[in-house]
């Protein structure tokens, strides 16, 4: 019942660590300094990659929740917990780095722009996911209600992603519209580093997700064993 991390995962750990270090090296030494923003523009590479990873976590949590409701296998519930937790951590990193970027560029740490507001609401909604779980003790009931909540809560993810396209926003549109306000022209080295960071963070997400999934599964299995004995 207790699963150990497979060797493949340990190899992927090393690859992800190397990937993150090399991405940092690229950001620090390979990309040029943007003329109008200066060094702070370089925050953009990991800011976008972290937020992307967070949304990937929420997407996976939604898929796992649908799978749980369909199959009633608790492994899917563990996957949903792992995805949501990682999503929250990385979106929070995205929010804070975005705020740091905003200070010299927008002259404020925070503004209630549609993108920032929807991201903040999304983070709060997923925080409530854990509040809900903490208040339900029966394993099956907790898994069922949390799954429904994660599916409904996921509606905030496409809303956040599309907010800068639907509403009037000062947030730059990175993917799809290079002519938007606040967007800068990316040189080939900038574009390469940006895509490289996205790929590395995606790999890192897989690795961290796998570890968190195993931890959640093992914790639940141990709790079940102890409860059955009592």
């Amino acid at each position: 019942m207790i699963k150990k991390a497979p060797k493949t995962l340990l190899v992927m750990d090393a690859l992800a660590a190397l990937g993150l270090i090399s991405a940092l090296v690229l950001v620090f030494f390979f990309t040029p300094v943007e003329q109008t923003m200066g060094m702070v523009q370089k925050v953009f590479y990991f800011h976008v990659a972290a937020t992307w990873t967070g949304m990937l976590g929420f997407l996976l949590a939604m898929v796992a929740s649908v799978a749980y409701l369909k199959t009633k296998k608790l492994d899917w519930d563990s996957a949903a917990v792992a995805g949501t937790e990682i999503g929250m951590v990385f979106v929070l990193i995205g929010i804070i780095t975005g705020s740091i970027w905003a200070k010299p560029i927008w002259n404020t740490w925070w503004t209630w722009d549609p993108r920032l507001t929807t991201t903040f609401i999304m983070e709060l909604i997923y925080a409530a996911y854990f509040v809900l779980r903490a208040n339900l003790t029966e394993i099956r009931q907790r898994a069922r209600l949390a799954s429904i909540y994660a599916i409904v809560g996921f509606t905030t993810v496409p809303l956040t992603f599309l907010s800068i396209r639907i509403f009037r926003s000062i947030h730059p549109v990175v993917i799809g519209d290079s002519s938007s306000s606040g967007m800068f022209a990316m040189s080939s080295s900038m574009l390469f580093t940006f895509i490289y960071s996205l790929v590395v963070f995606s790999l890192f997400f897989v690795v961290v997700f796998w570890h968190r999934y195993l931890l959640e599964n093992n914790q639940r299995n141990l709790t079940t064993i102890i409860m059955e004995e009592d």
Partner: protein, 49 residues
């Protein structure tokens, strides 16, 4: 002239490193705690037998 925003750049990457590092550390601590509980459990089981 290019503005001097080095401090913000450094602050941004400190947040990234601390955020990712902190989360990995929390996973390591929780895994170690689980391992400790499993060891205690197997000790209890072997004592009963």
């Amino acid at each position: 002239m290019t503005p001097d925003t080095l401090n913000y750049f450094v602050a941004g990457y400190i947040v990234v490193v601390l955020g990712i590092g902190g989360y990995i550390l929390s996973l390591v601590i929780r895994s170690a705690s689980l391992k400790r509980k499993l060891d205690q459990k197997s000790d209890q089981d072997s004592t009963r037998e």
